[in-house]
């Protein structure tokens, strides 16, 4: 896996910045003029009530949606338009709110698939599956086994993921994202639908990924306890507008945030 502090962006500097981004679907404005940044090495939470535009924001960052306005700068490079596979190329990995694994494949194959971009042996060698192609396959299998050990999913390697319980599916999905050795890992509700033990496990994995591999993480989460414990900085969205940005403690005290979550008397 990648050592902390890649050569391109130093720890603590801005890895990704979102400036004045707006996204609308027809007449519906999902995001209006949101700006924030994600620093290298931090855990950044994006929170907000339902329909606040959190997932849309992630979709903008990794290229599923093209914003109508605004600039996204990743590793110092501003971009106008980007396809998801370009984002993957650039080092952005992602997990989904509702698990998006390759259901017909085993856990091992799912995580191996995460290394697609790192594998380069051409069709000729793939057809033979000997020599360089096999060397490459084994080399990447080593890396994948490290991730499997890290996530403690050794015993389900060979199980088709469709048969796994939800919590383990989430873990395999995290493993697939980690296999990409991303610079920026986007987690869309990694703990949705989990019980307290599973949440604790997942939180531990997220912290470990951040510490051990130095991966910058942006996560959406509804469990405030988890958000406050994990994240270094929090950005709060409501109705597509940024209403607060700061450390968890600052955000918790913010009146706009409290109003957004609890509602205000009209």
């Amino acid at each position: 896996m990648r050592a902390p502090d890649g050569p391109d962006v130093m720890a603590g500097e801005v890895l990704l910045s979102v400036a004045n981004v707006s996204l609308s679907f027809g007449g519906v404005k999902a995001i209006s003029g949101v700006s924030f940044d994600i620093r290298k090495g931090e855990i950044r939470a994006i929170i907000g009530p339902n329909g606040a535009g959190k997932t849309s924001m992630l979709n903008v960052i990794n290229g599923f949606y093209q914003p109508q306005e605004g600039v996204i700068t990743f590793k110092g490079k501003a971009r106008a338009k980007m396809r998801p596979h370009d984002a993957a190329d650039g080092g952005i990995a992602r997990t989904f709110q509702n698990v998006a694994l390759f259901r017909g494949m085993t856990a091992l194959d799912n995580i191996m698939a995460g290394r697609t971009l790192k594998m380069h042996k051409n069709l000729f060698w793939q057809l033979l599956r000997h020599g360089p192609a096999m060397v490459e396959e084994v080399e990447h299998r080593h890396r994948v086994e490290e991730i499997i050990d890290f996530l403690k999913i050794q015993e389900i390697r060979r199980t088709p993921v469709a048969r796994l319980p939800y919590g383990l599916q989430k873990r395999v999905e995290l493993g697939r994202a980690l296999a990409m050795e991303p610079d920026l890992l986007l987690l869309d509700e990694p703990m949705a639908g989990m019980n307290i033990e599973e949440k604790e496990d997942m939180s531990r994995f997220i912290l470990d990924v951040n510490e051990h591999y130095g991966t910058t993480i942006a996560l959406i989460e509804h469990d405030m306890g988890v958000v406050m414990d994990l994240s270094d900085r929090v950005v709060v969205l409501d109705h597509g507008i940024k209403i607060a940005d700061g450390t968890p403690a600052e955000v918790m005290k913010n009146q706009a945030v409290i109003d957004a979550y609890l509602g205000v008397a009209h």
Binding site: N62, F64, R83, P84, H85, A87, A88, D89, A93, R94, F96, A100, L101, F102, R103, G104, M105, D109, M112, A113, G114, T116, L117, M119, K121, L123, Q126, L127, L128, R129, A133, M134, E137, V138, R141, H142, E145, R176, M180
Partner: protein, 358 residues
């Protein structure tokens, strides 16, 4: 009891990632190959080899081709028949213009023509999928059928409108045409099918196979891990059509001997699609099972009543055969929608834990 992998420890990832990691599977494969390569050619009757084995192998190859596209990449195609036709006609034209070149070279080369045509008709797959893609490939089927019927250049302006396979020899032994022996043709077909099955199996167990399955299972997530959808789908179309093309060329050159354009109509596409679905989507072994069930079973059924001494007219046998096959397909699909390959897996699992139920 005999089929058990207990005690077979893998000490390297290479061994762990082998296509057949279990010893008994490798022995089984060896036995099957031994029967195909030694027993059948030396002890098989001309009927067995000519009317059963050669077409069975060719249809298996076509099923593998379609399975790569439909079973592994999740792209439904109804153009297989046409792609097979492209292979057959390409081979015919090539051997007409360059009669001196080894016919096996041309059979394999015709796959490239089919692959090119497949890629062109695969272009819509970026935008449409499922049934809509099936309809788009149906367009390929009708357009190509029209070409084979209405464009005399394809059949060398023969008055019959059919293509006749010329005699072509390899090292002095006739391989195609009326004078070639069925054993020679069997060996050619068997060799090509073994090699191409091996290549397909390598492909689906490696990076490209995982990319295909990723696109099949969840294209959004596939794009997110860096897979370029268009290239991956077109590669699947190219390789699948290559297999279809070679199968089509073999069908005409090694089995029929001559072919009218109607051979490659939409019925053939459905025929191959049934083999893939019944055999098991996403299984190469299943492709062979599917071809066996759809192609060999009717032949076997036809010979059961006379062997039992039941006097039935052959026309009645034909009708009964359709009914039995139809019923069997329905029963198989209800019992196991994932196809014969899944039944095979379940059977192996039962053997593994025998005599315990689980």
């Amino acid at each position: 009891m005999l089929y058990r992998e207990a005690g077979q420890f893998k000490s390297s990832y290479t061994a762990d990632m082998a296509v057949f990691p279990i010893l008994q599977d490798r022995i089984g494969l060896g036995i099957v190959l031994f029967i195909a390569v030694v027993i059948i050619p030396y002890f098989g009757s001309s009927f067995l080899i000519q009317a059963i084995m050669i077409p069975f192998l060719i249809f298996s190859l076509a099923s593998i081709g379609l399975n790569l596209l439909t079973g592994y990449t999740g792209l439904l195609s109804l153009g297989t028949g046409a792609f097979m036709g492209v292979g057959a006609y390409a081979c015919y034209k090539l051997t007409t213009y360059f009669p001196g070149v080894n016919i096996i070279v041309w059979i394999l080369a015709s796959g490239f023509f089919s692959a090119a045509v497949g890629v062109v008709f695969g272009l819509p797959s970026l935008r449409i999928k499922g049934f809509y893609l099936a309809v788009a490939t149906l367009a390929a089927q009708f357009f190509l059928s029209w070409c084979f019927i209405r464009q005399p250049w394809f059949y060398n302006y023969n008055t019959s409108g059919a293509i006749e396979v010329p005699t072509r020899a390899l090292f002095g032994i006739p391989v195609t045409g009326a004078t070639s022996s069925f054993t020679t043709r069997y060996f050619v077909v068997l060799g090509i099918v073994i090699v191409m099955t091996w290549l397909a199996s390598n492909l689906v167990h490696g990076r490209i196979g995982r990319m295909w399955m990723a696109v099949r299972d969840m294209d959004l997530a596939a794009e997110l891990i860096g897979i370029r959808l268009l290239q991956t789908k077109l590669l699947a179309f190219a390789i699948s059509s290559f297999y279809s093309g070679v199968a089509g060329a073999l069908l005409v050159f090694m089995w029929y001997g001559s072919a009218e354009p109607s051979v490659f109509d939409v019925n053939l596409s459905f025929f191959i699609l049934f083999m893939v679905i019944i055999g098991g989507l996403g299984s190469l072994t299943g492709s062979f099972f599917g071809a066996a069930l759809i192609f060999i079973l009717p032949i076997v059924l036809r010979y059961i009543p006379p062997k039992l001494g039941i006097p039935i007219q052959s026309a009645t046998v034909d009708h009964i055969q359709y009914m039995v096959i139809g019923a069997l397909i329905v029963i198989f699909l209800i019992a196991e929608p994932a196809g014969l390959a899944r039944l095979w897996q379940i059977g192996k699992q039962k053997l593994r834990v025998w005599p315990f139920p689980y």
